[in-house]
Symmetry: D3
Subunit: 238 residues, 6 copies
């Protein structure tokens, strides 16, 4: 039995609360059980230097955790004077995942900056971030369409992410902190609405895993992401 | 008339939500109208180097704003690699304000670390932070008392903070962003439950102010803080 | 009796030595007793980015202490790789104080950069800095007028600063290091020549202070600043 | 046809030159075609703080590129004052990959520090680094065994890494720079000698990939890694 | 007898391997005995800001050591977040030495960036760097001439560098690590092909040195540099 | 004729003012004409980590320039967040020069920290710093002897520094800023009281220099340093 009493293929309770804060063009509180992340999408009517004058847009992401979002307090990265390797890895992953479903020509010469800030952590902050950030991005783009700044949506598909892993010999979906800190393998999977892969990042924390285990994990991830995308659609009313 | 239609001596709607996140020993969402700050208190059973072996405790604070807590996105301080002068000023102020009501001998050789993170800003983030942080600190100390780690509370009094200022010639209480960005004078006042001053920081943004204006602002602040402390007591059920 | 044998309302011996170094457009050695600060004003015929093309000028300030200006050696900030929170607070205060008496339209699109470097510290370095920096600024502006780069002075008034505090129960003026490190309350006040307040920053180091003590401190500060401004005028021969 | 005229399942020419530099306990020049990386293993008879007194060892890695190892010169990270997110991602991956085959209890309280420095880059620097670093690690451990500091090897298995990807619709092995900069999907796979997975990191650069493509890539990687491990064994003479 | 059995006026074996890596416009592996440095010259068709529009070029240099190029591992400067004072001193010296023989008007508005990276250190890394970097620079310039980007060589002369010192009372040429770490005086000398001095940097590590010793060292350096320049010419086939 | 009307072998007016500031164990204002540097020596009864428990002391130095010590304002290094390469080169030179005349065993396990801060620059700040710092160091050591913390002076000799150079074809002593910015060769020489060399650092800014010019410069430096050491003795009354 999983520590949370869930079935091996059960997601935690997922909530997507739109318009969570008032300033951002998209602002979503995403909850995967006790993991809570504020995802905002900010529209910037200019692009980074390397894209100036090319008629293409950009989507980028930053990630952070409040110092006491975790069981014991972590050092504040702004005070430490740098972002950790883990933070950079995660924010690069979020950015790549979202860019995979955006047509940059259609977005035009503007940038959408995603911020994912974890206010409470219980495992799966990166997958919750990607899943919530997509909804914030969708809201920001709807705003641009409503204002007439875009005539056609640059979104090519939906995108969401989930973790799968091997915990006490069993392939499980959506690991919480207890499972995550005690699993043999942890894999984060990012997929689109049409069931194709954008990112697969699997790490054997303990025993290396086999081809069959890999395939099982992929299958479970696929199912979980289908559920998440259905929840995104429901939240967005589309 | 004030932009918010409030009377000159009216606070915004104040809310103090305790146990807002689950990990911290004290965790409070404080709202001064649209200004929303998560304040956590983390107990650390050790002290900074300069206090080792002296039998005394310490209270310190850090402050941050989510990049899109504001009308236009600010650069993330962790990415910039340093905290701004403004951030440092505010976190030093929060720390001093709380230490003013804590008996460090009674706290014993442990540190309480306060984190104030603004998730939505509409003026007055530092006064909201101090007011909310005191409640988080109170909860953390209650926990230490309940666990028998402290036999007597080290809290000597309550403490809260409010801004006063001169806006369009009128002395007003608890300025929101619209007033703050257009006022002649802005003053932040920190007071204890017994009506004495811990900090007074007034700045003439436009025209310098007179002794009489100063006295009026002090009076208004005193009244506002009495209200805030009454709300703190109500939230804490004491 | 005060450690320095001064009356409670007595300033230390104040000296303002103009043209202290040869390169800067304004260069003043200010001494408040044993506190000695070199204040220079450097004219830069350009403005920061946010002011470009607006026809307005800017005044900004930086502050530093020589590592052995103090009783025990402090770490050199350039070697540490950052300015402390205290340094940033002080330099922001100096900049705001001077800007309060400068008409930025009249200054035109140029910047005056103030540097205050403490070569010997004995309490009150920030108030000495503001008081000396104003004289250096005045000299720099006189130079611009003499060269015909300005036709009218952008200075609207004089400005000076002094500390007041409560030391052993008594309200005292211009605290030296011995008093400063042992006072109940320390307040820095910045005022203009016409007797109005620009900045008031009071902190209860020990016991919080009352409204009456606040009023006494303000009165004493007002008197001290009138004396300082008279000394500035004498030094400038105006 | 691939730009390099290789078959889709062909590795580039692989060379592993041991004892490449004289100071390090293990020192290997690894070449995957035109990609050349110096991998050194340095034995440190102490462990990081978090492992002190636990009787366990540690293996960690750092990665860098000479500024002109690439087609156009990159900024030197030491001069820039920080390692890029990409650098940190890669060095974390190298460290995790090697730790997966080391028994930390058997290694004892000492650390082996891997350095992978790219002197010429043509795609696949991270997979070359892992493959070469394992050989350097093996040499360092053989040295500890020869000196009697270890009585039993802490190595549980071999480990190597290869990239696979989808280039112009075809699944290919060991992408060089030309393919890498123009592929639809790029996947780095780390496997042990017994054919199990340690890390799988796949990214759709263009079109997301299907479950079938994923499986094909995994199969090709498995074959490539078997070849690499055979080359490692040959180089080590085991 | 010297630890290396060399005569007091003997250089170590010197090798200059051109075209060592494939991307750079000039790429040389220079070996002074066991000291091995990769020197690359990268042509950048733009100049630093202070030279824009002046019709003049620039040559600049950076220096680094692989962490395990030395007997015990050094901290990686990119990870430490800054270059040491020693590194900066050396790279400034390399840059000045090369600029001494380049006619910046003839070079035209372009920059040549030298990178010297030590892969194995055994004393004399800075003199090897200068000697090898000149050859890389020469190759880069030959390339510009061949492409017709330059019609005339901006090189005014050759330049090379050698160390001399006093070891166990004897004046010796080209100190290796064993001598360097145990010498009384260490002097680095940079000279041109016509036998004039560009840089002389002598430091008494132990006993200060006399005018006569200084003269002996200069004479020995002059001879050594003549040999080095002859080797440079041979390597370049000129 | 030199711009300053001095003879080629004439020093500028040299002043050494002891006890310039009140806190440091040694505090000297050194003036070489218009170049003015505050040199302090601070005694620290502990040593850096690498010397702990070895019974030996250490002397180290830091150097800085006030932002407007120069003709146009330089960026404050503390604000820039790092010391320039030039600053580091100079402070390393000052430290080495002073250590050359100190017997570290006799100094015992304590550190003397030198700070050289330029308040006005007109060429030769590093030579003035070394010359003044020696006097501050002497005073600090006299204090330790007077307090009985040392029974015997660890100073083995005096040390001073001067620049020589080739200006408009003539070998000149003690270059001021006008000469320095327009010379062909600039050489800084550090010598002891007994006329031996501690450091020689010569750079051809324009035309490389010959062996004969080198010898002339050395001779002139020797004479200048003899004068400086005589002035140091006079200032110290020894």
């Amino acid at each position: 039995m999983r520590p949370s009493q869930r079935n091996s293929d059960a997601l935690r309770e997922i909530r997507l609360t739109r318009h969570y804060t008032k300033h951002a063009e998209g602002s979503v509180l995403v909850e995967f059980g006790d993991t809570k992340v504020i995802c905002t999408a900010s529209v910037d009517e200019s692009v980074p230097g390397f894209l100036k004058g090319k008629g293409k847009g950009w989507v980028t992401a930053e990630y952070g955790m409040l110092p006491r979002s975790t069981g014991s307090r972590m050092r504040r990265e702004a005070a430490a004077g740098k972002q950790s390797g883990r933070t950079q890895e995660i924010q690069r992953l979020i950015g790549r995942s979202l860019r995979a479903v955006v047509d940059m020509e259609k977005l035009g010469e503007r940038q959408i900056q995603i911020d994912c800030d974890v206010i409470q952590a219980d495992g799966g902050t990166r997958t919750a971030s990607i899943t919530g950030a997509f909804v914030a991005l969708h809201d920001a783009i709807s705003g641009l369409l409503a204002q007439g700044k875009l005539s056609e949506s640059p979104l090519r598909d939906f995108v969401a992410a989930i973790s799968v892993g091997i915990h006490q010999g069993e392939v499980v979906l959506d690991l919480d902190y207890l499972e995550d800190s005690d699993c043999e393998t942890d894999m984060n999977v990012v997929m689109t609405g049409n069931g194709r892969f954008v990112e697969v990042q699997g790490t054997a924390e303990g025993e290396p895993f086999s081809e069959e285990e890999m395939a099982s994990m992929m299958r479970l991830a696929k199912q979980g992401i289908a559920e998440l995308i259905s929840l995104q659609k429901q939240a967005l009313g589309v």
